[in-house]
Amino acid sequence: MTSIAVKNLSKRFGATRAVDDVSLKLEPGKIYGLLGRNGAGKTTLLNLITYKIFPDSGEVTIDGCDVSVRDTLLGKIYHMTDKSYFQDDFQVKRLFRWCQDFYPAFDQPYAESLAAKFMLAQSKTQTQLSTGYATIFRAILALASNAPVVFFDEPVLGLDAAHRELFYRELIAHLCLKPKTVVISTHLIDEVAEVLEEVIILHAGRVALQQSVEDLLEQACLVTGAGDKVSTFVARYTVVGSETLGNTKTAIIMSPLAPDEKLAGERLGLEFSRVNLQRLFVALTNPQGV
């Protein structure tokens, strides 16, 4: 099992700090969600960890070894990107064979069985694949790579709802059989929330939060009620977002409430409920607050 540590990693593109002093740890066997708004730095971070681009400062270690001095370690990570680096006019089945030849750990029979489940025509060349099937093809390569760490960058881009379901199920089935560390970068938070064990939220190049999904949802609380009462009640907590509709206000606070605090609020006519991951994400990453 492989663990990855990122320490004070930074990368600028011109005046933009694409990744700004990011530190995080990826523990073996967990499924991470890498979430962030467009341009938050998700893809840059994954490219930095896999050393496709070089950081301005900071370091990445795999199992305690610095990647910049031991690049063979990068073989432990398979990074599914939005591009294919294979020759376009090769048929899918030829590429599966090719992968088998070049990556000893690649599981060709598994790749072929996945292709059958997704009804991916193996006689097609990459250029003949639709957007969805091009993504499916790259996702299959990632699943069959057998690398101990797999990064999925937008693995369901262009997939229909049935294929997205199939992807998540196959991913889970695969991980139950062969546990590994997985990072899924996606904008479709609602549908992936239950698959994730931990989330890393990037905002403007920085880690806004890294926490287990369960703890995060346990901590966040949605308070609803009359506007002035909600405002007074939430004043002593960390408010990450609020919204007003007529006389009603909702506010998301990031503090677990003790039973007596909750009871006091209920006596004021306030209602408390849990928040889903997507709503929390929007609140945490929206400067206007929602």
Binding site: I172, A173, E194, E214
Partner: protein, 123 residues
């Protein structure tokens, strides 16, 4: 067992309760084998660690026992254990919210009792 997960409680709790429901209504008899955590995770499309956590809770409560290399089974006496636990929570989970809502709607307590007596007879 197909569960429509709600936001109000952690998923592992909802899963544990769904398995308990299946034991309560006899779908899983005592000493009967229950589906594997892999099947649970894949079918319900949840993180395998979440499925494991639900099962661990049930093992801790003595509802399920594991036989190495064979699988997971409903413990003898599991049904009574679940019944006792659920009866203790009945007030909190059902009666309290009902009275709370009645108060909000201005329904008097004696009217609540009358409604239960009038229409509430399930059998």
């Amino acid at each position: 067992m197909l569960i429509d997960f709600k936001i109000d409680r952690p998923i592992f709790l909802q899963l544990a309760e769904a398995i308990e429901d299946d034991v309560l209504d006899g779908r899983y008899p005592e000493d009967g084998q229950i589906v594997s955590t892999t099947d649970l995770a894949v079918t319900l499309r949840i993180n395998p660690a979440t499925a494991n956590k639900a099962i661990s809770c049930l093992v801790d409560e003595g509802v399920i026992y594991k036989r190495r290399g064979v699988g997971m089974f409903v413990a003898p006496g599991a049904r009574d254990k679940i019944l006792n636990k659920r009866r203790e929570r009945y007030w909190q989970n059902f009666v309290e919210p009902m009275l709370h809502e009645a108060a909000k709607l201005g329904i008097a307590e004696e009217d609540v009792i009358a409604i239960i007596q009038e229409r509430g007879r399930v059998k």
